[in-house]
Subunit: 227 residues, 2 copies
DNA sequence: TTAAATTTTTAGACTTACCTAAATTTATTT
DNA sequence: AAATAAATTTAGGTAAGTCTAAAAATTTAA
């Protein structure tokens, strides 16, 4: 079979994105089960799709071994992520959505197919490098500007901190952070660490002290001021 | 079977939109063949879908009789058109696309599902009432602000004219109009009508005379100045 | 008003993207 | 090193949306 301009379905795009997101920096393949959990499809459905993606040379697939994206597959994944994050910026900056509302809409918008549209959207937004959750936006060539950060619960000393991202992107978590007055870019100070349960007390600007469980702190990505 | 929030697939949306666009002001049902031509699907496929849309109470369907939208179906159609035209305005006004580029991208964007998004987009654009092709944008309640216009080839007298819309939306037609310096809102004067082939000569602003075949003129919607 | 042409529907199949149930392979325990 | 458990694949099915070919209904023309 010959196809000059391979088309990739919305479903295939979502699988490719899932494989990308589940890939670790080490080169361990993504398991069928992890994809099954992530996409909420049965493992047998995942296997079907993996065969198809392998036929299209978008993934490396060997029965029972787990999968990795080919360079071609990775390029597609990164482009979808670029579109997703640019649309999130648009929704937040131009349409005044809050950071907990943008993801679900961007899940739809990321599948719109038009390179010209994304080029112009990028320009319109001033070529942003970070999305509303602090995640890097890959450039036109697919290059990520990696930001070094650590989860708050790895900070063991009382220091001035900058809040630069979230690990968890659920609406409830984002809304909670908003409710305690915490937004990307904010500076705060660790006032106390309870070494029984590793919970934190922080002081956000002029606000009162806020208590954070270790679980909460583990989903807050920070960097230490002046480091 | 019980469903509280009926979901309508992208394919169903396109059929509903097609039925709306092919419906005349008179109450003659839309034929299977006309839908088949418009959607470039076989008539048998159309029949299958009509049965499904009828089951969902979105159209009135009687075998061999042609179809009409129910009020519910019409509401859906108008909402899709509203979204399409708002996105066209966005693409043109904010992203500087030309009027011949916006339609194809809007065909994708019109299917994005989020009432909140459209409300905010509408506000962001300043609640426009016309799209880049001069077509009216229905308001949130689905009301069209009908503009009275006539095809240029129905003007039989030499008069000052305002160009307010196009009947044909193909890229080549729109590009041609651009090439002769004609855009929505422009004023021009009919300088001559050749009564052999009903072709027109018009003068656009300070430009030279432009020759328009009757076919071309029939796709240019105008109103007569001061009327 | 019958015959021919056209339109529309029905019947049966195919593809995509899912599913359940039953193998099969790989990993973990005794 | 078996036995058991877990992960993965295969086999067989379903629903949505398409198709071709054939039958039926409607329209048009003789
Ligand atoms: Mn997101
Ligand atoms: Mn994000
Ligand atoms: Mn359009
Ligand atoms: Mn338009």
């Amino acid at each position: 079979m010959l196809f000059l301009q391979m088309t990739i379905s919305l479903t295939e795009e979502n699988y490719i994105k899932a494989i990308f997101n589940l890939s670790n920096s080490n080169n361990i393949g993504v398991s069928t089960n992890s994809l099954s959990n992530h996409l909420k499809n049965k493992a047998s459905s995942v296997t079907d799709m993996l065969k198809k993606l392998a036929d299209k040379k978008l993934i490396h697939y060997k029965k029972y071994k787990g999968v990795l994206l080919t360079p071609k597959g990775e390029k597609i994944a990164i482009n979808i992520i670029r579109k997703h994050r640019l649309w999130e910026v648009f929704l937040m900056e131009k349409l005044n959505f809050s950071w907990d509302q943008v993801h679900d809409i961007a899940e739809q918008l990321e599948h719109i197919k038009s390179d010209e549209l994304i080029k112009r959207l990028d320009n319109f937004l001033g070529k942003p490098t970070l999305d509303p959750h602090g995640d890097p936006i890959p450039n036109e060539k697919g290059k990520f500007n990696e930001i070094k950060s650590m989860p708050l619960n790895e900070c063991k000393i009382l220091k001035e901190i900058i809040f630069i991202g979230v690990k968890n992107h659920t609406i409830s978590f984002l809304k909670y952070l908003t409710s305690i007055g915490l937004g990307i870019g904010d500076r705060f100070r660790i006032e106390a660490i309870n070494n029984f349960d590793n919970s934190y007390q922080i002081k956000v600007k002029k606000n009162n002290l806020v208590f954070l469980s270790n679980d909460l702190a583990s989903n807050i990505l920070v960097k230490i001021k002046n480091e």
